[in-house]
Symmetry: C2
Subunit: 226 residues, 2 copies
Amino acid sequence: MKIGIVGGGSVGQTLASKLIGNGHDVLMGIRNPSPEELAKERMMTKPLTEWIAETGGEVVTFAQAAAHGDIIFNATSGEHAIRALKLAGDGNLGGKVLIDVSNPLDFSQGMPPALLPQYDHFTSLGEEVQKTFPNARVVKAFNTVSASAMVDASFVKGDHDLFIAGNDGDAKRTVENLARREFGWKSFVDLGDIVGARASEHLLPLWVRLWMIGSSPAVNLKLVRP
Amino acid sequence: MKIGIVGGGSVGQTLASKLIGNGHDVLMGIRNPSPEELAKERMMTKPLTEWIAETGGEVVTFAQAAAHGDIIFNATSGEHAIRALKLAGDGNLGGKVLIDVSNPLDFSQGMPPALLPQYDHFTSLGEEVQKTFPNARVVKAFNTVSASAMVDASFVKGDHDLFIAGNDGDAKRTVENLARREFGWKSFVDLGDIVGARASEHLLPLWVRLWMIGSSPAVNLKLVRP
């Protein structure tokens, strides 16, 4: 499968490493893939030069990664997501499944983050991505768990759910099948159309809180319903 | 047990009915317990005259209910909560366990509600209640489930959690014991100090979404952790 990963941070590296390991044809895009940028220290993860050496992965521009992928992951920070996707290019996203993993987190006051006001009041980042790129088949998913759990559901012990939202039912089934086959996910909660991204993005304060007070990112939720 | 319920809406009525049925000495407070007000149509629940006829309950002012209770429930709407508790009176809340069931929901654009901006950005309604009444032993609890589930955990089928937050550990244990004994709750997630109210209040968009797309309020979450 041809996959484009938009974003070279911790989440982008984790997704790309796993998908390369599973044999897929992956390109990772960053804003400026210069030698200096690839060698730069990165928050909470390794420099991309190290990542490339370890995985054999390839780092290109946002636009090149998006043009390459039949499926595209938005793994940028929520604050910069729409700007990054504009650089990736509307034409490179149109008609494709765009998995929005990002969260609109506001770290301006340190930890714990709040949600960015422009994305949390009667809207969500997922909705704004879909509005900005109406031809992309946006699926909000994987944003409610740690990167380690995204690519290996068994990182969280027990029966737990992946929350998914999006306007395109076929695109959601594609993401569920990918999550099942590549990452071992077994159970899904379909939150309906992309407005459901409000629900899953609002889970972040709980997730961060559980991580802070429980000292483990290996947490998730199981929906209990009739 | 002497219990004061601040608020006569759907949540206040449900809590008061159950606790009266369990044999407790309950007073329900509303802003203005005049005959006209008691007879008034109420959103999503019955007029208080009917409630009184059915339960034998007594409706008084916010301040009288708060003065009466050794344990006090804040069952007002989030928008009006702090104003209502000011009418209840700082002196009537001080030293007591104040269970904050309210949620900062913004219905200004209809359904689904967002969170009220003044209570969701690096703060929460629970924190603002605690700041406004520093002598009250505020415990955020029961705000993440439907009123039916608050007073009867088996309304949701399966193993599921009640999320609790507050600065006073003894007060939290008091609330857990009450939840266990009076309402049948079995499993709790302690979110730490009152800052944890950010996490549980942010669950509301998910809860409302699940209710809207699943047509049942009998939903809750189970935390899966190491």
